[in-house]
């Protein structure tokens, strides 16, 4: 997995090789990040948080 960076603080984020799009990471800067597919690989974006219709 190429090294990914936190879009909030710019520091590197450790993402395992078998990570899937949709996985969430709590970064040391306090941001919750979501792994997503860009079309050219994986990247990180700020997780938008729980939605009203989420859950079981």
């Amino acid at each position: 997995m190429p090294q990914l960076r936190c879009p909030v603080c710019g520091l590197p984020v450790e993402v395992p090789d078998d990570a899937l799009p949709g996985e969430l990471y709590e970064h040391e800067c306090g941001a919750t990040l979501e792994l997503y597919e860009t079309g050219n690989g994986l990247s990180l974006r700020v997780f938008e948080g729980l939605e009203e219709d989420w859950g079981e």
Partner: protein
């Protein structure tokens, strides 16, 4: 060899465990990450190809709509869009459960403040007021008297049309726990107690999971509840009423099972994967 599609949005431990078990059985498992996906109702050919799909979206609306789109392309999806839709609405699912003679707590619907007060007086306080759509125990309210009920309903009347449907239910004095039973096809491989000092026992709200023995009565009730809603893989919430016995609260059509696996030792993810594999080979 069958192929499968895992439809999801957030890759939780539940989804990763299921993916791992599916990869052990299926020739190929594709991922459909809904936040990045484009789905077509009218197929342009080969957009989505698999023998079976499993719906694991944490979002109710994404789960229903993406399943409907995949079904339109001829894909077999577990659970079906109809099962997810009816399970996601407490009023609709309660109606189907009652029609199919599945015991539920006494429940009334009301659409205005005064009619809700009347409904509560018919049940007797305390009553539980629930949104007809909602998850993880959100916005459940306990009204111990008319004053509290009026405050709850008045707040909800400002929250939009969905919250003006008042689902009013008898408060069951349960023994500090309720039951989550897992249904997969025609079997109930595991169940847990969700133990809490609070009247809300969802593990998402701090309830502690403990293993429960699947009794014949629990198994029968779980299977009948899932069948009533057309749910193949489901989590059935059951409450122990001190006089009426086991009653079904609701059926979850995209159930979480990591806590069930952790405390019971039953590999629910593997059992779901095996069910999907069997269905795909049909």
């Amino acid at each position: 060899m069958p192929t499968a599609l895992l439809v999801y949005d957030v890759a939780r431990l539940d989804e990763k465990l299921l993916l791992d078990r599916m990869r052990r059985l299926f020739d190929r498992v594709e991922l459909l990450h809904l936040p990045s996906a484009v789905l077509e109702f009218t197929s342009r050919g080969g957009l989505v190809g698999a023998d079976i799909a499993v719906q694991r979206s944490i979002s109710f609306y994404r789960a229903v709509t993406s399943t409907a789109a995949l079904e339109a392309q001829g894909l077999r999806v577990v659970n079906t869009s109809h099962a997810i839709l009816v399970s996601g609405d407490k009023a609709v699912s309660t109606g189907l459960l009652v029609r199919n003679r599945v015991p539920v707590p006494e429940t009334l619907l009301a659409y205005g403040l005064e009619s809700t007060v009347k409904a509560a007086s018919l049940l007797g306080y305390p009553v539980v007021v629930k949104p007809v759509q909602g998850s993880w125990g959100r916005l459940l309210a306990l009204a111990r008297d008319e004053e509290e009920l009026r405050a709850i309903v008045e707040h909800r009347e400002y929250m939009g049309a969905l919250y003006r449907v008042q689902y009013v239910q008898e408060y069951v004095r349960k023994p500090g726990r309720d039951i989550r039973a897992t249904c997969i096809g025609d079997s109930v491989p595991a169940a847990i107690y969700r133990v809490s000092g609070s009247w809300i026992t969802n593990t998402a709200r701090g309830g502690r999971a403990e293993p429960a023995r699947v009794t014949p009565e629990m198994e029968d009730l779980t299977l009948r509840a899932c069948k009533a809603l057309g749910v193949e893989v489901g989590g059935v919430d059951i409450v122990e009423h001190p006089e009426k016995g086991l009653l079904v609260l609701e059926v979850n059509a995209v159930p979480e099972y990591k806590n069930v696996m952790r405390v019971t030792g039953v590999d629910v993810a593997r059992e779901i994967a095996e069910y999907l594999y069997g269905e795909a080979k049909r």
